[in-house]
């Protein structure tokens, strides 16, 4: 698949998110973490909401998590997803911090097999030469 045939929305990395998107291309999940108190900061922000420190660094995540919630989308409105319904959108909560969640797709199983609380592991999906998306599948 080439960049010109990939029709779905693509991220526009910015100064706050560039490290995350570049990390995915290497097969790493890199989120922001406060160097003062260790709190993971997601969505990325220049201030730690826990201790108000502005000393924010990168942290590599294990990738292990659980499904906090999920939906099965049948009525498609996002451009490029027309041929993929029904598809699963999930909130995956990462093991490092309660409430630390990423929006993602669950792949590798049928929508009917996804459960709240299901352990998951990352899938690095290089959808274009420039962009890798972070999806998840049931943990082996």
């Amino acid at each position: 698949m080439t960049a010109t045939t990939y029709r779905r929305p693509l991220p526009e990395p910015d100064v706050e998110t560039r490290d995350f998107w570049e990390g995915l291309r290497r097969g790493e999940i890199v989120l922001k973490r406060c160097n003062g108190c260790g709190y993971y900061i997601h969505y990325p922000a220049p201030v730690c909401r826990n201790c108000l420190s502005t000393d924010i660094g990168n942290a590599r995540m294990s990738g292990r998590g659980t499904v906090y919630s999920f939906i099965v989308t049948h009525h498609v409105v996002t451009p490029g997803f027309e041929d993929d319904a029904p598809y699963v959108v999930a909130l995956v909560e990462l093991e490092e911090q309660a409430g630390l969640r990423l929006v993602t797709n669950i792949v590798g199983c049928s929508p009917g097999d996804v459960r709240v609380g299901m352990p998951v592991e990352p899938v690095f999906d290089a959808v274009t030469p420039e962009v890798t998306l972070l999806k998840f599948r049931q943990a082996s």
Binding site: L10, P11, I71, L133
Partner: protein
């Protein structure tokens, strides 16, 4: 202790609607003007008596000054154009009450007008690349409210065992109410079988869990309590309101998605007004989706957290139940006038003008707006 300095200082004295359709064939300006003139006329006033305007929109309405010009309002002493969502169905009326009670203006029209079906639809397609917070969600095909609220509903179903049939009980009950509302865009009853066999939008939501987009406008007129007593209808006083968010106001990072804004706002509203859910005779609860309404019923204290499913399925929310909810059919069946129609219906009920669907002896009403991370509640009553 809690302050409530606006208590009973203002009242709603006029309400008005356009016809509610799926294709109005007229401009949003035309809808706004028609609904405002209807509400002003209902109060026994003319635009010459109006000196305040408040409206809310999502780039799909007309501004307050444009409407003032069109209606020939001689002097505007207060106006506000709010850009935002359904939470402003309550905050817009609250703002009018604050403007009138502070002396900023004397008589304020609040309106919402939209060609929400034939014109600017919610969740219209966005560009194919994006920055900001969109970059975290749109690449995964997660874009519109029917997805966000289905995600919230799932957490409640997983934790408390809430069922599709319980969500369906809301859709079926509200459609029944709409059969007694000549204004409602959908007046044909639906059965539980209809609900369960209807197509999926985003599991766990069927199409009947989702609001119906319409072309329409509605308006309310707020004035001072003193002036209200001289006007033609029994005044419907604004007892108090609360609005806001709490914790982490983020759709994905919200601490516990089985609760909504209403956990916080409900407590604040009851503290300010000195009331509880038991004092409410009729409730018009923001129902962008069935689940949004059910979760708010819990948060405002009509039943305990986690018991919303059995509560709505028990018949408690029916017209003859312990707390009639969304007596006009709600946004699910009367139509999505972005929630301001809930206030119009509450006023009809408190005046005793709701016809076949009248809740007998209703004196105190709760109207809520918004869902998820943000929203508000307002209490109206008659004396």
């Amino acid at each position: 202790m809690s302050r409530n300095p606006i208590e009973d200082k203002t009242a709603v004295v006029g309400i008005g609607w356009t016809e509610i359709t799926r294709r109005s064939g007229v401009s949003v300006l035309s809808l706004a003007a028609e609904a405002c003139l209807a509400a002003i006329g209902d109060a026994g006033l003319t635009p010459k008596d109006v000196d305040g305007l408040v409206e809310y929109q999502a780039n799909d309405s007309v501004g307050a000054l444009e409407l003032a010009d069109v209606l020939g309002v001689p002097a505007v002493n207060w106006y506000t154009d709010i850009r935002g969502g359904g939470d402003h169905a309550v905050s817009s009326v609250a703002l009018a009450a604050m403007a009138v009670s502070s002396g900023a203006c004397d008589t304020c029209v609040v309106y919402r007008a939209l060609n929400g079906r034939s014109g600017h639809r919610f969740g219209a397609a966005k560009p194919s690349t994006m920055g900001g917070r969109d970059q975290w969600v749109l690449p995964y095909g997660y874009m519109v409210p029917p997805q966000w609220f289905a995600m919230w509903a799932r957490t409640h179903m997983a934790r408390y065992g809430t069922t599709h049939e319980q969500l369906g009980a809301i859709a079926v009950n509200q459609r029944r109410n709409a059969t007694m509302n000549p204004r409602a865009v959908f007046q044909k009853p639906i059965s539980m079988e209809d609900y369960l066999s209807s197509r999926w939008i985003n599991e766990p939501f069927h199409i009947y869990d989702c609001t119906v987009e319409v072309d329409a406008a509605c308006a309310v007129v707020v004035t001072s309590a003193e002036r209200a007593q001289a006007l033609r209808h029994k005044p419907v006083y604004i007892k108090g309101f609360a609005m806001g968010s709490f914790g982490r106001p983020s759709w994905e990072q919200w601490a516990d998605m089985t609760e909504m804004y209403s956990k916080h706002v409900g407590e604040m509203l009851w503290r300010r007004t000195g009331l509880t859910a038991k004092d409410i005779d009729v409730a018009e609860v923001y129902d962008c989706f069935t689940y949004s309404m059910m979760c708010q019923l819990e948060d405002y204290g009509f039943c305990a957290k986690g018991e919303g499913g059995p509560f709505v399925a028990s018949g408690a929310i029916a017209l003859e139940g312990e707390i009639p909810v969304n007596t006009h059919g709600g946004l699910l069946s009367e139509g999505y006038i972005h929630g301001l129609n809930h206030s119009c219906e509450a006023v009809s009920q408190l005046r005793g003008d709701a016809g076949q669907r009248q809740v007998r002896g209703a004196q105190t009403a709760l109207v809520t707006s918004g869902a998820g991370i943000l929203g508000g509640g307002i209490v109206y009553h008659t004396k």
